[in-house]
Amino acid sequence: MNPVLEVRGLAKAFGGISAVNGVSFDVHEGEILGLIGPNGSGKSTLFNCILGQLAPSAGQVRIDGRAITGMRPCQLNRLGVGRTFQLLQVFPQLTVRENLILAGQEHQASMWSRLVGRRDAGLGAAADRMIEFFRLSALAAEKAAALSYGQQKLLDVAMAFMAGPRLVLLDEPAGGVNPTMLAGLRERLREINAAQRATFVVIEHNMEFVMSLCTRVLVLDQGCIIAEGTPEQVRGNPAVIEAYLGH
């Protein structure tokens, strides 16, 4: 069976600086892969190269066996690839419900029918289900700008799931989220993973979150993979300790 995501020899250089240096890995259906590494190790650049936000200097990316290198983010999204960003990326002047409807609307029929057809086309109900699932019901009619940082982070993650993606890349979903909300987020991600066989790649600095959520972990340092394995294997790996602690 083809992996959901195949990355082969991916590299990205900014002038003389090599941010990602020939990275290769696979992610299989239903897997939750953690991607960790010190600041500046190339994690977000790797995400951006996979997801079309940056053009890689070299290498190939495949989704379900199909080459996607060079595709635009909106094209990738329509292939079932969702993402969140390191920094908050919600639409502040839209309500929570509108944010979610927007996140699903481009997957509804043709562009023309979105103008002349039914305005809602079931998206309102889907948004309400997502709001309930992420425990945001009391905030559904609020503008996203009025939400706390943690609530916006939850909304950001919920938006990535609105179109029922096959693969979701989450860039530091736990950053700035309080422990109670974080436990809830972990539960939601586990539930989606179990119910939909959705595949996740998670960049995260919160080791407790990564170790308790992910089935496998990759460690990146200076643009290269330096370790790979189960959370337990990675935790005790001397190269990982060296990269993080510098001795």
Partner: protein, 305 residues
């Protein structure tokens, strides 16, 4: 309350020409035409977040298309169709630079386009008659009803404004309108959610420009004589002012902004002798300094308290 106020304004608009002198009716008709042009710019700038200093050029394209065709005996509805399609196509092309540059860089690209259109209108005499302009532009007769008189033409323009407003209302409340808002607020996130930001950027320019073209087709028979300086950069800046003063991204913003820009200077003119433009400029500066979201933004802030 809001509905009652809107109903009152509508009744006033329907009754006003019967109480005004010809110059007053002319000003009110000019307000209607400029409101249409500002609605187009509000779509491009207010909803989709794409700065344009070329809206006046599209009014010019529409005006010249209308004038050239109707003075050759073509019916006005043909001029509407051709001017709208022409402005739509040119607006679409003008959107391409917006795929590469944004903000003040995009403003300069559109400013260059506005200058180019002005120079073409002035220099291509074989087509536009250059600085001599085009005169004798006829007003329409529709199914036996003549819109040649000032009151009739005012109602004709008001009907077109109603149609343009209804179409724009429909558009901004559709998923396309939501995608325009997403483009304005966070294009990168919109792209990652499947919104084809390139296509929506081009559409925002094309639709806004097409509405500018419609305004131009009405402007030509309103003044019945057009020449290039009416469509130079001043008009584009004035339209930008209308959108900003009314409230960029508010549906009713262009209506209010055009009223401030077209009617307020005339109102200030009485009793202030030659100082009315200074009063007007100070009023606009104070508003922009204290409420950059425009009059409707100010109203929203006041009513929320």
């Amino acid at each position: 309350m809001k509905k009652l106020l809107l109903l009152g304004v509508l009744v006033a608009l329907l009754a006003a020409p019967f109480f005004l002198k010809p110059y007053g009716i002319y000003l009110l008709t000019l307000w209607v035409v400029m409101t249409i042009a500002a609605i187009g710019l509000n779509l491009t700038l207010g909803y989709a977040g794409q700065i344009s200093l070329a809206q006046g050029a599209f009014v010019g394209i529409g005006a010249y298309t209308g004038a050239l065709l109707t003075t050759q005996g073509w019916p006005l509805w043909c001029a509407f169709v051709i001017a709208t399609l022409l402005s739509l196509a040119i607006g679409w092309l003008l959107g391409y630079p917006a795929l590469r540059v944004q903000h003040h860089y995009l403003a300069f690209v559109t400013l260059s386009f506005a200058t180019l259109v002005f120079l073409m209108l002035r220099n291509e005499e074989w087509l536009t008659k250059g600085v001599y302009g085009i005169s004798g532009i006829p007003r329409p007769t529709l199914l036996g009803w003549s819109a040649k008189g000032p009151v009739a033409f005012y109602f004709f323009c008001l009907a077109i404004l109603a149609l343009v407003s209804a179409a724009t209302w429909w558009l901004v409340r559709s998923p396309w309108g939501r995608a325009f808002t997403a483009l304005r607020e966070n294009a990168m996130r919109a792209d990652s959610l499947g919104v084809d930001t390139r296509r929506y950027t081009l559409m925002a320019f094309a639709f806004g420009s097409a509405i500018g073209g419609i305004a131009g087709v009405l402007y030509a028979p309103l003044v019945q004589f057009i020449e290039p300086t009416a469509f130079n950069l001043n008009l584009s800046l004035n339209l930008l002012l209308m959108v900003m003063v009314g409230g960029s991204g508010y549906f009713l913003g262009p209506f209010l902004g055009a009223a401030v820009s077209v009617l307020l200077p005339e109102w200030l003119r009485f009793g202030s002798e030659g100082l009315y433009l200074i009063f007007y400029a100070i009023a606009v500066m104070v508003l922009m300094a204290f409420c950059p979201s425009g009059l409707l933004g100010l109203a929203q802030r006041v009513f929320r308290r």
